[in-house]
């Protein structure tokens, strides 16, 4: 015998803590920790709901397993992106504006000259300006 209100309350708590974790951290990896907490809240809720009598196809535990797998995939890609961000900008501080554009860097590396023939740009009067 178990009352299913208890795991429901725990799931709500974990989700709230995860939201706080996402918003209170500036380190990208730690934000991912908050995301993981929210995912686990969802997992717990799935298991809890699946424990109710009369759920067909063992949907609760199976979907939980699927979500765990998806979470593994997600965290892999997310951490790869974080590492790239760190390598490109030298920091993973999400309160700063990261330069994620592919445009030429505003301060080019020393010795790197601008391209000799920039592509002609079409301005609004239709005149080709190079």
């Amino acid at each position: 015998m178990i009352h299913l209100q208890l795991p429901a309350v725990l799931a709500a708590l974990l989700a709230g803590i995860g939201v706080y974790g996402v918003l209170a951290r500036r380190n990208a990896v730690l934000i991912l920790i908050g995301v993981e907490l929210i995912l686990n809240a969802a997992n717990l809720l799935l298991v809890t709901a699946g424990s109710r009598p009369g759920v067909p196809f063992a949907a609760g535990p199976v979907l939980t397993l699927f979500v765990i797998t998806i979470a593994a995939a997600e965290i892999t890609v997310a951490l790869a992106v974080v590492l790239v961000l760190f390598r490109t900008t030298g920091a993973i501080d999400l309160t700063a504006v990261p330069d994620l554009t592919d445009e030429p860097e505003p301060a080019p590396a020393p010795g790197l000259e601008p391209a000799p023939h920039p592509a002609p740009e079409l301005d609004l009067r239709g005149e080709v300006r190079s």
């Binding site: 015998m1 178990i2 009352h3 299913l4 209100q5 208890l6 795991p7 309350v9 725990l10 799931a11 709500a12 708590l13 989700a15 709230g16 803590i17 995860g18 939201v19 706080y20 918003l23 209170a24 951290r25 500036r26 380190n27 990208a28 990896v29 730690l30 920790i33 993981e36 907490l37 686990n40 997992n43 717990l44 298991v47 699946g50 424990s51 109710r52 009598p53 759920v55 196809f57 063992a58 949907a59 199976v62 397993l65 699927f66 765990i68 797998t69 998806i70 593994a72 995939a73 892999t76 890609v77 951490l79 790869a80 992106v81 974080v82 590492l83 790239v84 590396a109 010795g111 790197l112």
Partner: protein, 183 residues
């Protein structure tokens, strides 16, 4: 209150507490370690709920793989050892975050408690969906989503690889351009 209720409450309290600690601690590495505790005890929660397979997979994948990955990522991004005040957002953002988190909790609780009020499950005679049932469902009803998931994992693997290669190649080009400029 049954015995299972008490056990679940105890394990759940540890889970919630360690989760709270992992989002509030000033030590970067501690945060990951508290996450480890939280996810481990959550596996315990699954056991209490009678889902042994889910609990074991939770231990294997989350505790065994994901937290290790997080720790690796922290090391690779040169996370500072020891207490560090700079890992948190400004105070007002944290206040807003706390309000939003509390709101989420209240909202979910207000939604879920009526749904589950008075619902009890008798787990002493074995869970309704035991491991054999799960195995049957996974390889029967859910076999196509299962296969798709394996493809998803493969895509994620290649995607992570490609993301890192992409940037590496750009760096190669810029260094090559630099060497061209300086003959």
């Amino acid at each position: 209150m049954t015995t299972r209720d008490i056990v679940f409450a105890a394990v759940g309290a540890i889970t919630a507490l360690s989760a709270l600690l992992s989002v509030t601690t000033k030590h970067v590495v501690h945060s990951a370690l508290w996450l480890l505790v939280s996810l481990g005890t959550l596996a315990g929660c699954y056991l209490v709920l009678g889902q042994e397979l889910v609990g074991l997979v939770q231990l294997l994948v989350y505790v065994g793989a994901i937290v290790v990955l997080v720790l690796f990522a922290l090391m690779l991004t040169r996370a500072p050892i020891g207490p560090h005040a700079e890992i948190d957002t400004p105070a007002w953002q944290r206040v807003v975050g706390a309000v939003l988190g509390a709101a989420t909790t209240v909202l979910l609780a207000a939604l879920l408690l009526p749904l589950f009020s008075g619902v009890t499950v008798d787990l002493d005679g074995g869970a309704p969906g035991g491991t054999p049932a799960i195995a049957q469902a996974v390889f029967g009803t859910w076999v196509w989503p299962f296969e798709l998931l394996s493809v998803l994992l493969l895509v994620a693997l290649i995607g992570a690889f490609a993301v890192s290669r992409l940037v590496l190649r750009r760096e190669d080009e810029s260094s090559a351009a630099r060497s061209e400029v300086r003959p």
